[in-house]
Symmetry: C2
């Protein structure tokens, strides 16, 4: 197997999944804290978007939201800065053995990935295939090319293995996606 | 012409404020929509961070959050990408005639502005001085230097006039901060 656009022999990355936690979100948050504390990058998860309808202001205690609803996100969940570059990504967990359906990503988020890519972002999807206990980084560019071709309604696991880039993990960086970013994007 | 309640001579601003709306947040959101629609930049406001305590899942209707509390933001409210650069800013309205108190910005946000600046962001504060009906862009770098000097607990209006950069407005861009960014940051 070869890297795309390269004659380099594919060397299977030494990827350990031993340090992964319960959820991809937790693992990314832990990793982001490591990046921040060690001054490697400043990347945060955006808060969950909600529509607030009613708020109580009880005396002598904090304002309490008593009616609110979840909104569909208009952007991806994570963004920030790494080596002076704008980083933007969406994280998804997929339980299927065979494919990752496009219906798992909102239209808004696909448009957003396309927008930021056009403006020069380092944009991607972090995809956890839970059955295989593997995390992959998929460049937004590669994802969008395939998505826009309209050929299929999902990414097959074979496509993910060929076009995705496996993400390693360690105790403090259970989803060490910036190590992968460093190797596959140009700086 | 004189300001109401003031003996100061009215000096016509070099920028028009005629198109400003009710709140700075609304004006920035309108401006960001213009930037997005016209493919100038991709900059979004982050959702308000809250802690969700209780959610009801009624049959046949949307999940309803019935208990939640506001959290202190750990980052600034706005970020995104412009000309390939990571943009990050906080927006504040100030009603005082004389100064903008540091207590109006959370410690977390100041740390965040410092973090992203160190990593090469274009970072700043958009400050609306409502009494004067003027918006200013203050570079995070300039703000942090003054803040860290420990000399004062606020920015005086004189300091803002000297170190800030006035932001113009037009119908579709009621707070056209990127025009100011273009002029004062290097690309």
């Amino acid at each position: 197997m070869k890297y795309p656009n390269s004659n380099k022999e594919y060397v299977r990355p030494k990827v350990s999944a031993a340090n992964r936690g319960m959820s991809l979100e937790d693992d990314i948050n832990t990793t982001n804290r490591y990046y921040l504390t060690n001054d490697i990058a400043v990347i945060h998860k955006k808060p969950t978007p909600i529509t607030i309808v009613k708020v109580d202001y009880p005396k002598r205690s904090a304002a309490k939201i008593t009616e609110a609803y979840f909104k569909i996100a208009s952007t991806t969940d994570y963004n920030g800065i790494y080596k002076g570059k704008y980083i933007d990504f969406e994280a998804k967990e997929c339980e299927s053995k065979t494919s990752f359906p496009f219906s798992s990503i909102h239209q808004h988020q696909i448009k957003h990935l396309s927008d930021v890519t056009r403006h020069g972002a380092i944009a991607f999807i972090v995809l956890r295939m839970t059955y295989y206990n593997k995390d992959f980084l998929i460049k937004a560019e590669d994802f969008l090319t395939f998505y826009n071709s309209g050929r299929r309604k999902s990414l097959s696991y074979a496509w993910i293995l060929e076009n995705g880039h496996e993400i390693g993990s360690s105790y403090y960086r259970p989803c060490d996606y910036l190590e992968t970013v460093k190797n596959i994007f140009e700086f």
